[in-house]
Every structure is written in structure tokens, then in C-alpha cells.
Symmetry: C2
Subunit: 329 residues, 2 copies
């Protein structure tokens, strides 16, 4: 289930250059956990940060203090980051952002960078760069996320990203990453070698090829197989239990949902706008997701197994968001 | 020369409670290096941060990203921090500050905290706390430091702190910590046991005790020995070579002076308002300091010995600011 980010990237390169792998190995779509802790700093867990690898693009999701070091540890080339999504403005979810943006600047970046997050994030960054008399050498495109309505934020060649309204002490949004539908694969070996090239494109788009009388020469159904299913990942942190989330999250392949507390602290979880492991599992079960990842564990707990046990009692396909692990979707 | 922060604190406690140590072991005055790197993040060195232990108080000097974890690694109780000094608003010197202040708040701190730094620092912090809808549960007293004039910033029971104007790309100040003069020690064993208590205080302050005719009963010089010399520490980072610094820094016991580059990059050092190891050593030699500590090494250098060698060619009592080491002053 897990391997390293580098292996995922390497598998991706292979599928790009080796035709034999064309059908079986789609573009990588993988999540690497950089931090799974909560607000109180500890030496065991780092604050929230995740890296989503989508084809050759890196998308960073939340950016707690020290995230740039976690990326360096994972041997991620910082320059390949193109999109950053921040859930909310509690420090353990974004205090690593200004340091990361500064480092990108110092390294001479000129490529545009796209940042999504709550209103106010731009003011913080603008203030920080102003007082240090810094000018970024790259364009930083900031889009404020509406915390109340699911909104399409990004229409990327391979996927769409929409916001997921959460309920926390301050405005907070999750993010839903959905691959676009894959085109059917062409069965070239079944076609005569002299088929005109323009026919191939039409077949791949599902259109039959007909002669001038309208008779089918090559049926798309016969010469293609369906593309791989579209994959999806949803990130939900931080939030109290919101039963209604299951509508938007229906059927996602991988769901990350915060699980700050165990059931013994269910009341406190609700008070401080956080969730328990069982509540995360209830969302996963009711939304019929493929797998559930839990994290954002409170520092009051010394062991993580009880989180897994409580969640699996409701949703067996639950896994811990272990720092440094990559979940291939 | 070096030991751990805990050992320094332990030595301090011993001197407080064991009269036999009263004369030989003064209050601790020790510097712990938390970060000695420069702006580019690496896994080898952390950004600038130092902890000065003065009696039972902790003073933090600069606070690069991740400083709170360095403090936790050193087993420093964060709650004991009372004074924080920030040299300038380049991120590698203060991006760990908002995270640290947030953690202190989360842990329920109510004691006042005193922060010294460039104008603009308060605006950054105010913005960060406003957008997260946070109110600190403790008073944070901010004093903006005049970057152009040496200024007395703090009159602490045991020491004074004054600013040291440096020359960097943006406003930047060093800090000079000077112990107040120690009172003479009383030689109790030489005095008759029936000497009135009020005489002891006068003798310790250097006053002779006279009878009603003005004749000396007990001469201060006979019944006291001079207290230990006052100790001093100066922190200078980041700055280009400023020959005039030696006036203010004359005779300090320990001087930290940045040494971002080796002599092969002297021209570049000047351009980017940094110093070489030899320039740091020249300041130390001309100011007649006791020991020189160098740090803020550029990530372009893979080895630190050349820094030491170049500096020692001018000033033999030079040491590397090794992270985790404590220099007892």
C-alpha cells in the first residue's frame, strides 16, 4: 500500500516512456504524509502537511512549521511545487508557508505559484514580505477560498480541485482532488496497420468510424477498452463531526479526516471543534470511501494503535497517517 | 568549556543552596546554541537561535523556524522564557517566533513576556494573531529597537541589555548583555559572632563600620574580598564588517559574530552585507574579547573547519557555534 515518493515518481516516469506500461500504469496519484501532529509541538510528530503527487506536479496541502525540512527529507525538489492549499489559519497548519515561500525566492524561482487558502492569508504574507523589504521573484497567485460553499478552485489538465466546507473555530476548508475521466485505451494491435491516423483519435474519443454510406468500419467498442477509473482524494482537517460531509465525499478513493481525539474525549472534541477517530470512521463508512487515513493526533495520547482500533471498529479500511509514508491512490 | 544547559542549571541550583559553593560558583551565565545555519534550510544546521541562561531566567536570542523544537530537544521548559531579542526581520532569524508564542499561549501561560526587535515585528505578530482570531492569555510587551543608536533596553536585576547597531540589508541590531557589578563577599569566619546584622550589610557594600568617635571598628577591606568580575556576552548577527563595533564591544567575555563566508568570498560577503570568518576574528582581536564564537555558515560550505582555521589565524580563541553546545561564560 505504501512506498516512497521517489518510487512513485519513478513508476510514473517508467509509464511515460515505456509503451508496454502504457495501459497498466497510469500517471501517479499519490499522497505523502509530511506531518500528522496537532497544535502542541512534540518531537514525535510534526504539524500538518501533505504532498499530493499528480503526474509531474506537486501539490502541497497545509504547511505547518518545518514543512520545508520535511520536503527536503523526502528528497522533494522544492522547485517542482506548483500548487499550495491551506485549510485554515491556525499556526500548526501554515506557519511553515512564509519560510517555504522565502526559500523558493532565495533559490531563484521564477515560475508562477498558486496558493489557495482563507481570506487573511494574503495579508499575513504581504506583511511579512513588506517588513523584510523582500520582493518575490515569482508570481504568487492567491485565491481566497469561500469557507461556506463547495467551490471549484482549480481546473488542472489532470484533475479538478474543489473546496470542502468544514466546521472549525475559525474558517476552515478541506479540499477534494478528483482526476478527470480517462479516455479509452486504443487496442492498436487489433487494427490494420494502414488505418489513417485521424481515425485513431476518433476511436479513442469513443466515436465509431463510418464509411460514406454511414456503415460502421471500425466500432469504438471493438477497438478500445475503457480507461482506468478516475481517482480521488479528499482532505478534511480540522473539523468537528459534520454528518453532511458524506454527500460531497461520496465514493472518494482515499479520505483523510482528522482524528484529534479518542472516544473518551468525544465531548471535548465537539467543544473544541475537532473529531474523534470513530467520527472520522463514520464519515468514511457513510460516504462509502475506499480507504480512510486518520491523523492530527492530540499530543495527550502517547499511542496511536487505539485510534486505529476505534476507527476500524466502524470502518476496517482505516490507516494511520504515518509521517514519511506514501499512499498510492 | 562546554557542557549541557541542564548541567549549567544544575550547577546554578547547587551554588544557591550549598553555602560552601557560595563564593566560587556565581549565578549561571551561559549560552546555548540552538541554530547556527543561515537562510537556506538544510538538514545539517538550523536557522539562528540562541538561549542565554542568566540566573534562573532564560533569554532567547533570535528565533528561526523550528526553534521551539530545539528548546524541547534541550529539555528547556518553555514557560521559563521571559525575554526574547530578535535581531532583524529576515525569516531565518524570526520565523519560529509566532509558533513559539502560540505554543506558550496554548500551554496556558499567564506571565508577562518581553520582546525586543525591529519596528514591524509587532505588526507581523498582530496580523497573525488577528487572522487566527487568537487572543494571547499573557501580556506581550514589545519594545522596538532603534537600529541606529546603542540603547539601553533592559535593566534586569542581574544584568543590563543594550542594542548594538549592525549593518545589514535591512535594520538589524545585535545585543550586548552585561552583568551588573557583583558586591564584595563577606568573610564571615573572620568576624566575631556577635557583630550586629546591620553591620554585615554595610560591610558587603564596601562601607567601613565606625564607632561614635569615627574610629574604624571593622574595615570593609579586611572583612571582604572583591566579588567575581562581571561577565558579558555580545551577539552580532547579521552584519557586514563594521570596524567601529570594537568600541562598544571592548573586552566582552564572549562575542558571537556571524561568519557567513570564508575569505574566498570576501567580496560577495560585503555585497550581501555579511562577514567572513577573518572579519569576525578581526573584530574580536581589536575589541580584545575573551572568546569568539562564529556561526551563520552559508550552506555552500560543506565543512566548518576552514572557518575555524581562518578565524584562528587572527584570533586563536575562536570556537564554532556548534548546535546543542553550551558555552559557560
Amino acid at each position: 500500500m505504501t512506498n516512497t515518493t521517489q518510487e512513485a515518481a519513478s513508476a510514473a516516469n517508467k509509464s511515460n516512456h515505456d509503451p508496454a506500461h502504457h495501459r497498466s500504469a497510469p500517471q501517479p496519484f499519490a499522497l505523502t504524509i509530511l506531518g500528522a501532529g496537532s497544535a502542541t509541538p512534540t518531537l514525535r510528530l510534526h504539524p500538518t502537511a501533505q504532498l499530493l503527487t499528480v503526474g509531474s506536479d506537486y501539490m502541497l496541502i497545509d504547511c505547518g512549521e518545518g514543512t520545508q525540512l520535511r520536503l527536503i527529507e523526502q528528497k522533494i525538489r522544492l522547485g517542482r511545487l506548483r500548487y499550495i492549499f491551506i485549510s485554515h489559519l491556525h499556526g500548526d497548519h501554515y506557519f511553515g508557508l512564509a519560510p517555504l515561500l522565502s526559500t523558493l525566492n532565495l533559490s531563484g524561482r521564477t515560475e508562477d505559484l498558486y496558493l489557495f487558502g482563507p481570506r487573511g492569508l494574503d495579508e499575513v504574507l504581504t506583511t511579512i514580505f513588506r517588513v523584510s523589504d523582500s520582493r518575490l521573484g515569482y508570481n504568487l497567485h492567491f485565491q481566497a477560498v469561500d469557507p461556506a460553499l463547495p467551490t471549484l478552485l482549480l481546473d488542472h489538465p489532470q484533475l479538478t480541485v474543489e473546496s470542502v466546507p468544514l466546521q472549525h473555530r475559525i474558517d476552515c476548508s478541506g479540499y477534494l482532488f478528483r482526476e478527470k475521466p480517462h479516455k479509452p485505451h486504443l487496442l492498436r494491435e487489433k487494427l490494420p496497420t494502414d488505418v489513417p491516423v485521424q481515425y485513431l483519435k476518433q476511436l479513442k474519443e469513443g466515436h465509431d468510424i463510418r464509411d460514406e454510406n454511414g456503415s460502421v468500419l471500425y466500432a469504438a467498442a471493438e477497438y478500445t477498452v475503457p480507461g482506468p477509473p478516475s481517482r480521488s482524494y479528499a482532505f478534511c482537517s480540522d473539523t468537528r463531526y459534520v454528518a453532511g460531509l458524506t454527500t460531497q465525499l461520496q465514493g472518494v478513493d482515499l479520505l483523510y479526516h482528522e482524528a484529534t481525539f479518542l472516544e473518551d474525549n468525544a465531548e471535548r472534541a465537539s467543544e473544541v471543534y475537532h473529531s474523534t477517530a470513530q467520527q472520522a470512521a463514520a464519515i468514511a463508512a457513510n460516504a462509502g470511501v475506499g480507504r480512510l487515513l486518520i491523523g492530527h493526533f492530540s499530543s495527550r495520547y502517547k499511542q496511536f494503535e487505539p485510534f486505529l482500533n476505534e476507527a476500524r471498529s466502524l470502518f476496517p479500511e482505516t490507516y494511520l497517517a504515518v509521517e514519511g509514508e506514501t499512499f498510492v491512490i
